[in-house]
Each structure stands twice: as structure tokens, then as C-alpha cells.
């Protein structure tokens, strides 16, 4: 058979969607006739011989785990060409049709009125003028930059923060501070037990995969889904690891309200706990251990402070407290008493690690710091740091160390300014006037200054949580309310707390101009006044390090341009550069350096010049790291602390695991939501979202939300091929593709709901439409939805058809003094939507139903263009 041409060229891409100057989930992109023809896993031996790279392996019970010689991207990464050519792509600059910078601005029509095409020249003229006007009228802090979060993996053209780089050079800006959105409980909780950690997680965490492999007898996947969350960041290495652990005889227990995708295929035991009641279960485990004397008393004596206070609370020795018995816990968490005891004994009997991959359902509900802290206490009671006893972000940390790897993690201080600065908005609170991302809507609407403790920036020291901030700053410090928003991360409505309140806040007349740069017409973009088309990583060349843990073989690659930009789009850096030109800031932005200069600079910053030559790197297009010769000697996790806590103290005030935090006691003596000893919080001033609440009479189900299986937060909701998966979308009787809402058959029966029905999920904060997914994969009392579906407002701030469940999540943060988000575990009701109600909405909000819509991929940019695409 004659062969035919199946491609013209092949380029490398990091197909993960974590962004932040780092890649992973790499792939090869074949291009033919100027179009992407296919996206496939990266076979690392493309230009290297296998024998030239030193790799690692691990063994247990005769089973061997090795580095795969190909990358393991998730399905949306492999389908990425559909995103590039999506009917939702913004192809040219646009202006809201009834927003006139020299006249009426009509903020009340944001999210409703359509757009007209304008030229780049017009768009940048308007923007430059607006920036100067705001600076003059209010000062530089009058502009809020939303330039943080996840996105495509690039370094020079990294998706977020370039607007911050520009405005920083012009006197600063008000910074939206990205909160630890996927690990709130560890950030606001665990840090007070084991110290700073990395973003609150256990640290050091090096080499724990090997140690758990060799010593653990059981791993608890506690609210963890290794078959979902890792996909967006590093791909499917955790899947291979968990299959291997199973072969090697390590028990895998899933504690979660749902049969998540890991539980579906890996679980030896599923313990369906009610959402956000893990603290009760944890306390009952501690109770059982204390009562039966099955915890590591020696370790506790030498490694823990405050155990007596913790024990007194657990055993109910305090005046108003009950013992936290399995019987007590069972009523809170919905797990039978006998199963709680059985779990507690297994945990005590077997060498046990706990695994997470950041998270959703477990770690970001109301009071998430309590399960975050209690989990560390449980590990501490069994000798945390000892052989096989660790806290995993599974494969993200703890894989073997590479030889000569110096890192381009965003905190790498060696990076050139232009490479490093954009990502500062994501990791640091580096401006003077700050608003935590969780407070944006409140800050816009507030008429009085707001105060809060802790900026919530993901890399700041624990002590920042005790620092009092105020927004706006006093006038003499340049403080002003914000009057303009420049966003390159327009997903606040669907990915953060109380999206409906956010939609309404974006209409506040105080906000005179909203500019968004984004490749797709979605979410907050629909509330913009000016829209600038940024492009995807397929359309621009870059250099990307794929060294996040979980990459099969760590590497750095030159990602040459795959295709020409779609329409008039430009990279996120180039977009800002166009504006900078109009402000006379071009040179300041580029530093006079070309992309090629920066690639070389990055090469040097990575110390790749010590490992290879630029010439060879250019020729091959990538560099593969060998594993370090002595990696097996690396001390795993907290082993040094375990061995000698005096010589190797933790970064807590006492150097020990603090089951009682003096710092919390001192700084927040009256905080009953985050007391010095971690506790079960039934309700508090911030949240009243449990089944015991009066509100549960009206809203009797707990809404649980995790990171999406088929998306990375808000990314990749428009891929027709993933949308065909039965758990991705459900076709309603009206032909619309609804976001699934999982509900147990018993709850469905009670409500007359059948699989595939259109249902409304609602509470006081609004209504979200969904497709009923009636399944035994969720326990009773719960409704489950992935967060991050694109908003499709029937009525702005009230009714959403797209399935953006966070539109009705609570406004409150993790707790009173913790500005994290609480976007899971809140009360809702689910009802079958009647045709009459839908018809009524059709009559009342006809424009929402007349918008162009493509069931295969969902929303279309044409829907928002006056007269359609020209």
C-alpha cells in the first residue's frame, strides 16, 4: 500500500492547562496545509536514544513501576484543536454596542447587550485614553487587574498578568489576589499545624512516592480523584501509579460522597461520607484511637504540642462538649458507626498515607480549614513522616529528583523580569492595594472600606493570615475605589464564589470600563465593554518547561509556532504590547528583547547550559532530564522531622505539629469558626449550610462540586468530542446540552425526576439549569455538579442555563477570618423543570433563547455580535 502524506511538520506543545510558566501533559502537534491535523502523546525517544537518559524505577512485592516513555495527556488536551478552531473564538477586537466612552456607558446592560467589530487601532486608542483618564481622575489604583490563575502553558507569552506588568510600570494598580482556590483547607488550616508548607501542603514532600510504594499498606484517597484533577496539569501519571499500587497490594480506600472517577476503577473500599462532614469522621477516628490506645504515643509526646487540649475536645472533656464518638459522628457524616470504627482500626493497624490531588469537594467548602487541620492531626497521631506515612498531592510532589534541574517554577528568582513579572499576580500580593479574588463582587458593591485578614496570595508566609488589610487604602496612600477592570482571566462568575452576585456587581456604574483579553467569548467576557482577541498557544512560539511532578520524563521544549493566528488575534503579551505602544511604553514592556533572546535567557536560567548546548537544544527541540544518580538517598517527606524533631523543627512557631495553635489563639481569640484546636463547626456567622440548618427545610440537598472531569475549571467546555461523553453533557428535551447534575435514584424518585430530565438546581441565590444524571455514583442527600461550565444567563444574576453552578454558591469565604472560597457543600433543592416554567422564561427573556447556539460545542461568538460575524 502506498503511503500518503499524513503531516507537513510536527511541533511540541505542553498541553496542560495549569499555566504559570510551566508546562506538562506534553504532546506533539502535526500540522498539514497550515492546519492542525492531529494532537498526540509525546514519545520522548523522538530525538533521543533511550539509553542516553537515565530513568528510575520503583518496586514492591515483585511489581515494578517505571517512567513511561510517552506523555499521558488527558482527553481535552488531545482534542485541543477543537478549542483552537472553536465557534466561540473571538477573532477581532470588539466594543459593546451601547458603551460609549465619550457618552453613555450603560453599565446596566453588561451581560445583555451585543458587540460591534472595531479595529485594533480603535481599540487600543480607546484603551490608552481610558487608562490615562482613570489615572488622572482616581490615580493608578483605580484600575483593577484580574491577571491570575490557570491557562495554557507558556512562558514568554504566558496567558496572565502582562497588563499588570504594564500598569506596574505606570504607578501600580489594584491587584486581584488569587486565593488558594484548589487547596483552601490546607492553606487556611494545615499551615497552622505543620507550618508554611508549599501553598499549605506538606513540605518537604520529596521522594514520598518511592517511600509510600515501599512501605505503605493502605492509601486513603480522601476527597481525592486521581482520575480527574491531574488531567489538567500533568496528565495521567497518577492513574498508572494507582494501578501499580493495586498490583503491588496496597489497599486503596476512597472517602468521598461520590464514586468519583478514581473510585470507579481503583477503590477497594468506598466510604460515602456526606459532603464537608469529614471533620466529624476525622474526630471520631481520633476518638477511637484515643479510647483504644492505638495511636503513636511516643511520637505525639515528642513531635506534637497541644495534644492535651485536642484530646480534651475529642473526648468531650470540655464543659459544653460531647465526646466525638463514632455514634456522634455517624449522625453528622452519614457513615454507619460500625464502618467508622472499622476504618479507624484499619488506619491504626496499617501503615497509611493520605492522597490528594489538590481538590474540590473535600478542601474548599465552608470551614475547610477544619478538615485540613484534622487530617494533619490524624497523620500526626500515627507518626507522620515515618516509613509509608505521608500526605500526597499524588505525583505532583514526591517523584524522583531530576539531575541538574533548577526549576522554572514561578518562584524561581533567576528568571528574567519579563518572564517572572506577569505571574506575580498569580502567586504574590505584590501591589499595595489588594482585593482577594473571593471579595471582588463585595468590594465593587461596598460603600464603606472593607477589612480582611490575609491577602490569600498563594505563596505568602503563614503570618500574612494575621495581617489586617483594608480596601480601599487611605487616600493619602493613593487609595481609591476601582473604576476600571482589565481582565485576562474572565472566569470569576463560573469559578469563584457567588457568581450571580458577581454578574450584578459587574453592572455597577462605579465600574466605568471593563476590558477583557481572551480567546473565547465566555463567562465574564460577556460583561466587558472592550474585548481584545488573544490567541492560543498553538498560534505563537515559546519555550516551556514540563517539570511539574507527574510528567513522565521532565523536559524543556521549544514550542515552535504551529499555525498562523486565528483571525486578528494576538498573544496575551502582544495584546498588552499593542496598548503599551499607544502609551509610549513599548520599550519598557519588551526591555528591547526579542522572543529569541528570552528563550536563550530562559535556557540559561534553567542552567541548561550546564547540561547541553543551545545549538543541540535548538536542533533537537527539547531537552530530557535524567534522574539524579543519588535520588534514592533523598530523605522522603518529613522523615528528618520524624527522626529528630529537635534538630529538624517544622516551620511552626514551636517547631512541632501544633494541634493547638497559640498563634490563632492570640490573633483571633473570638473566632469560633477557626478556633485554636481544630473542631467540628456545625454553623457560624459565615455559613449555615448543613442538613441541620433551618434552611434545609427548603433546600434539603447538599450541593457538592469538584473540579471538572471534562474541563480544567472554566477551560475546555466547548469541545464537541468530550461533550459526547455521558458524564460531560446531557441533551435536554429542548436540544440544549445541559451540565449534568448527579442525583441518587431515591432522591430522583421522590422528586419525580427521570434521568435526562431538565432540572433546576436552586437556592436563595438563584437557579441553575442542569440535566438530571440519576446514578448510584452519588449517595443520597447530595446533588453533585462539576464547577466551571460556561455561564449562559437567562436572567443575569439569577437564572443560568449553562450549568455554572458557582453562580449560586455562597458569598461567604472559608470562614470569618479566612478569605478562601467556599464553593462546595451548600444547600440546594433540585426540581424537575416544567415546560410551563421554561415557556414563561422564553416569553420573559426572549433574547436569551434567541442567541445562536451550537449543541455540539455550545456557545458561539456570533450570538453576541450585532448582525453576526462580518
Amino acid at each position: 500500500m502506498a503511503s500518503r502524506k499524513t503531516k507537513d511538520k510536527t511541533v511540541i506543545r505542553a498541553l496542560g492547562l495549569g499555566g504559570l510558566l510551566g508546562g506538562s501533559s506534553e504532546g506533539l502537534v502535526d500540522v498539514k496545509d497550515g492546519k492542525i491535523v492531529r494532537v498526540r502523546p509525546f514519545h520522548y525517544d523522538w530525538k533521543y536514544k533511550k539509553e542516553d537518559i537515565k530513568t528510575w524505577k520503583m518496586e514492591r512485592n515483585g511489581k515494578v513501576f517505571e517512567q513511561p516513555w510517552k506523555s499521558l495527556p488527558g482527553p481535552f488536551s488531545l482534542a485541543y484543536k477543537k478549542r483552537v478552531y472553536s465557534p466561540n473564538r473571538i477573532k477581532f477586537p470588539m466594543k459593546r454596542v451601547d458603551w460609549d466612552p465619550d457618552g453613555e456607558r450603560n453599565p446596566q446592560n453588561r451581560g445583555k447587550s451585543k458587540y460591534v467589530r472595531i479595529t485594533w487601532d480603535e481599540a487600543t486608542d480607546i484603551l490608552a485614553k481610558e487608562i490615562k483618564r482613570i489615572h488622572k481622575a482616581y490615580g493608578p489604583y483605580g484600575i483593577l487587574v484580574q491577571g491570575d490563575g490557570h491557562g495554557e502553558c507558556m512562558t514568554i507569552h504566558t496567558p496572565h498578568g502582562h497588563s499588570g506588568s504594564l500598569l506596574d510600570k505606570m504607578g501600580g494598580f489594584t491587584q486581584q489576589v488569587r486565593n488558594p482556590d484548589s487547596w483552601e483547607g490546607w492553606y487556611w488550616g494545615s499551615k497552622h499545624v505543620w507550618g508554611q508548607g508549599i501553598q499549605g501542603g506538606m513540605f518537604p514532600a520529596g521522594n514520598i512516592v518511592k517511600d509510600t510504594t515501599e512501605h505503605a499498606e493502605m492509601v486513603l484517597f480522601w476527597g481525592c480523584d486521581p482520575e480527574t484533577t491531574p488531567w489538567g496539569f500533568t496528565g495521567q501519571m497518577p492513574s498508572r501509579l494507582t494501578y501499580f499500587w493495586k498490583d503491588a497490594g496496597i489497599d486503596q480506600v476512597y472517602i468521598c460522597p461520590d464514586v468519583n472517577y478514581g473510585c470507579a476503577v481503583h477503590a477497594d473500599k468506598w466510604i460515602p461520607v456526606l459532603p464537608n462532614t469529614d471533620a466529624a469522621l476525622q474526630l471520631a477516628i481520633a476518638y477511637t484511637w484515643i479510647k483504644e490506645g492505638t495511636y503513636n504515643k511516643e511520637y505525639v509526646k515528642t513531635h506534637v504540642v497541644g495534644f492535651d487540649k485536642f484530646k480534651a475536645y475529642v473526648m468531650g472533656e470540655e464543659e459544653d462538649d460531647v465526646p466525638k464518638t463514632p455514634e456522634w459522628a455517624s449522625k453528622k457524616c452519614g457513615v454507619p458507626e460500625w464502618t467508622i470504627k472499622a476504618l479507624a482500626r484499619q488506619f491504626a493497624r496499617k501503615v497509611t498515607s493520605i492522597a490528594h490531588y489538590f481538590g474540590g469537594g473535600y478542601v474548599r467548602g465552608p470551614f475547610s480549614h477544619e478538615p485540613g487541620r484534622l487530617e494533619v492531626c490524624l497523620l500526626g497521631m500515627q507518626g507522620l513522616g515515618g516509613p509509608g506515612r505521608h500526605h500526597h498531592q499524588i505525583t505532583y510532589f514526591g517523584l524522583p529528583r531530576s539531575n541538574g534541574l533548577s526549576g522554572t517554577f514561578f518562584w524561581n528568582p533567576d528568571l528574567a523580569d519579563r518572564l517572572r513579572t506577569p505571574s506575580l499576580t498569580t502567586i504574590n500580593a505584590w501591589q499595595k492595594q489588594l482585593i482577594p479574588k473571593t471579595y471582588i463582587h463585595d468590594a465593587i458593591e461596598a460603600n464603606e472600606p472593607m477589612t480582611f485578614y490575609g491577602s490569600g496570595a498563594i505563596e505568602v508566609d503563614t503570618t500574612d493570615q494575621f495581617k489586617k488589610y483594608v480596601y480601599p487604602l487611605p487616600k493619602k496612600e493613593g487609595g481609591t475605589e476601582i473604576h476600571m477592570i482589565w481582565s485576562d482571566t474572565p472566569c470569576r462568575t463560573t469559578c469563584w464564589n457567588n457568581g450571580n452576585a458577581t454578574e450584578l456587581a459587574l453592572r455597577n456604574p462605579k465600574i466605568e470600563c471593563i476590558v477583557t483579553q481572551h480567546p473565547w467569548m465566555e463567562n465574564d467576557t460577556l460583561f466587558s465593554d472592550i474585548i481584545l482577541p488573544s490567541n492560543t498557544h498553538m498560534e505563537v512560539g515559546d519555550i516551556v518547561s514540563s517539570i511539574r511532578g507527574g510528567t513522565s520524563i521532565p523536559n524543556v521544549a521549544l514550542c515552535d509556532q504551529a499555525i498562523e493566528p486565528v483571525g486578528e488575534s494576538k498573544s496575551n503579551f502582544e495584546v498588552v504590547l499593542e496598548v503599551a505602544k499607544k502609551l509610549g511604553m513599548e520599550k519598557a514592556m519588551t526591555g528591547g528583547k526579542t522572543d529569541e533572546d528570552l528563550k536563550k535567557e530562559m535556557f540559561t536560567n534553567m542552567r541548561l547550559d550546564k547540561l547541553t548546548t543551545w545549538k543541540e537544544f535548538r536542533e533537537k527541540g527539547y531537552y530530557l532530564y535524567s534522574v539524579a544518580d543519588d535520588w534514592e538517598d533523598d530523605s522522603p517527606g518529613l522523615r528528618k522531622f520524624y527522626d529528630d524533631p529537635e534538630k529538624n523543627p517544622l516551620p511552626t512557631p514551636t517547631g512541632k505539629l501544633e494541634f493547638y495553635s497559640e498563634a490563632l489563639a492570640k490573633n483571633f481569640p473570638h473566632d469560633r469558626e477557626r478556633p485554636p484546636v481544630p473542631k467540628w463547626i456545625e454553623k457560624g456567622p459565615t455559613h449555615d449550610e448543613r442538613l441541620s440548618s433551618e434552611r434545609a427545610k427548603m433546600f434539603p440537598l447538599i450541593l457538592m462540586s469538584n473540579h471538572g472531569r471534562w474541563r480544567v475549571h472554566a477551560q475546555a467546555d466547548d469541545i464537541p468530542w468530550t461533550r459526547e461523553a455521558p458524564t460531560c453533557k446531557i441533551r435536554g428535551w429542548d436540544g440544549y446540552m445541559y451540565e449534568p447534575c448527579w442525583i441518587h435514584p431515591s432522591e430522583a424518585l421522590e422528586r419525580g425526576i427521570k434521568h435526562g430530565d431538565i432540572v433546576k438546581v436552586f437556592n436563595e441565590r438563584g437557579i441553575v439549569l442542569a440535566g438530571a444524571y440519576v446514578t448510584e455514583r452519588i449517595r443520597p442527600n447530595v446533588a453533585y455538579m462539576d464547577h466551571g461550565a460556561r455561564v449562559d444567563m437567562i436572567k443575569v444574576g439569577e437564572i443560568d442555563r449553562g450549568g455554572a453552578i458557582n453562580t449560586i454558591s455562597g458569598s461567604g469565604t472559608s470562614s470569618r477570618n479566612a478569605v478562601g472560597q467556599a464553593t462546595t457543600a451548600y444547600l440546594v433543592q433540585v426540581e424537575r423543570l416544567s415546560m410551563e416554567e421554561m415557556d414563561r422564561w422564553r416569553r420573559e427573556y426572549p433574547e436569551a433563547f434567541e442567541r445562536e447556539y451550537d449543541p455540539a460545542s455550545g456557545l458561539c461568538v456570533n450570538a453576541w455580535l450585532e448582525g453576526g460575524e462580518k
Binding site: 500518503r4 495527556p73 482520575e227 495521567q236 470507579a264 468506598w270 472499622a342 455521558p726 443520597p780 455540539a856
Partner: protein
């Protein structure tokens, strides 16, 4: 040319859909005729990942299975095709519908026992999995689905090399095996399960080590296991049929009769003993 087979280990399938997605990536919008013309953007699954939720809370598992053209050696579609050479078997064993010669008569759709052939209304063509023959002819060693499988569950192998695996494998619809001779083999297809948890209602403790004896009504064969540290028993890999179960712990005893696994797996829930 060596003959090829697909060997799919269900135990290693994590349900990620990468096989289904990359099949579309390869064929939607790309023209590889005469091996294949473009696949419609939506609605066709030359490679389809099927899923089935088994059991009830809290004994639930999910069974995934990639379904595709079985590239039968006695392919009914070849026989039913009225156009000479429009459906043919390659030397490597792959069955191809020639996208140029196909007349669009639909005969093959009617006779395929695996429902693996689709009709493209826009092109008036019968279409299905090609094993990515156009890529194999261009030097690829495996089709896209096998390349993208992250766990090695889905493999495209030389028949000789796969012999040992094939001896342990099953085909889909085994009753057709002799007749159509499929070239896709499945390992570890799940049977039914009967499971439950045994506890002492007075002590509020699970009962560990209770004797559970499951008898197959048809054969009279009995399987014996003991409850584990969670008080759980799982009889897995069962056939479809009627079973009876006796649970004994000390002097306590419980019997379940007429447990019918024909339609579904059975979770007996938390059993007070």
C-alpha cells in the same frame, strides 16, 4: 505481513475516553481516502468507550469497555457488500471500507453483529474503524487509540506475540466467535458481583471473618469467603443466574435465597446479624 489483533485489558481501562477522542481527532475533518473520508463532527463513534455503573450505594463500580469494529476474519460486512472490493480485508487483518468504492447501499450496516458501522448522510458512505491503516502505511506501529491509551489497556499487537494473552481473553458476543472470528480480544471482562456488609446491631461493630457461602443454583457449586476488616464480602466474577447465600458468624446465621444476577449486580447492603 504480520497479522494484527487488538487486545484490550478491561482491568486497566480507567475510562478516560482518550481512545474515543483521538479517533475523532484523526478522522473528523481529515480526508484519508481511500482508507477513510472525514467522519462527521459528532454522533459517530468508530471507537466508542461504553460505561456501565454496577451495584448500589455503597457497593458501586464502573465498568468501561472500548467498543469498535472487531475486524472479523469472517466479516459479514464483506460478504454483504455488493461492490467488488469496496469492503476488503488487508493482509494485516484489518477490515477496510474503501471510501471511494463504497456505494452507500447500507447492506453492511444491517449485517454487522457489533453495530460498529455508521452511515455518513452527507457523504452517502458507510464508515467505521480503519485501524488507522493510513498511519500504519506511513510507518506508525499502532493506531491512534492505542497510542493515546495512558495505561496500556488498549494494545495493537502482532497476533503471534499476543498468543498467550489471547488464550486468556474473550471476544465480545462469544456466541459469534466461531462464526465471524473477531480480531479484538478483551481481558478481564467483569462478571457480576454479589456483595454486602455484615454487622452486629447490638455492638454496632462490623463482623470480621463471618463465613459467607454462595451457591450457584444451576450448578450447585459453592464459593466460600470470609468477611474482611470492614465486614464486607464481595463475590466477584459471577455468571448471570440464581444464587443463594448463607452467612454464619458464631451462632448467628442469615440466609438469602433467589439472588438473581441476570440483569444486575447485587448489593445486599448492611446486614444486621
Amino acid at each position: 505481513m504480520t497479522k494484527k489483533v487488538f487486545v484490550i485489558d478491561i482491568k486497566k481501562c480507567n475510562g478516560c475516553h482518550a481512545c474515543q477522542i483521538v479517533c475523532k481527532d484523526e478522522h473528523v475533518g481529515n480526508d484519508w481516502s481511500p482508507i477513510a473520508k472525514p467522519q462527521p463532527d459528532a454522533g459517530q463513534f468508530w471507537m466508542e468507550l461504553t460505561e456501565r455503573v454496577r451495584g448500589t450505594v455503597p457497593k458501586v463500580k464502573v465498568a468501561y469497555r472500548p467498543h469498535m469494529c472487531m475486524h472479523c476474519d469472517n466479516a459479514p460486512c464483506i460478504e454483504a457488500c455488493p461492490v467488488e472490493g469496496a469492503i476488503y480485508k488487508r493482509e494485516d487483518g484489518l477490515v477496510i471500507i474503501d471510501s471511494v468504492k463504497c456505494s452507500g447501499c447500507r447492506n453492511c450496516l444491517d449485517v454487522c453483529p457489533y453495530d460498529a458501522i455508521f452511515y455518513n448522510d452527507d457523504l452517502n458512505l458507510a464508515q467505521k474503524c480503519t485501524g488507522c491503516a493510513h498511519l500504519l502505511d506511513d510507518g506508525w506501529v499502532e493506531p491512534r487509540c492505542a497510542d493515546a491509551c495512558p495505561t496500556g489497556a488498549l494494545k495493537f499487537m502482532d497476533e503471534d506475540e499476543a498468543k498467550k494473552l489471547i488464550s486468556k481473553a474473550e471476544v465480545w458476543k462469544p456466541e459469534l466467535k466461531k462464526q465471524v472470528k473477531p480480531r479484538v480480544y478483551y481481558l478481564n471482562l467483569p462478571g457480576r458481583f454479589i456483595a454486602g456488609t455484615v454487622y452486629d446491631p447490638k455492638a454496632k461493630e462490623v463482623i470480621i471473618g463471618a463465613d459467607c457461602a454462595l451457591t450457584d443454583a444451576a450448578t450447585g457449586k459453592t464459593y466460600n469467603i470470609k468477611t474482611d476488616n470492614y465486614g464486607d464480602f464481595w463475590f466477584e466474577g459471577l455468571g448471570k443466574g440464581e444464587y443463594s447465600l448463607q452467612i454464619v458468624a458464631g451462632k448467628k446465621k442469615e440466609t438469602f435465597k433467589k439472588l438473581d444476577t441476570t440483569l444486575e449486580d447485587i448489593n445486599l447492603g448492611d446486614i444486621a446479624l
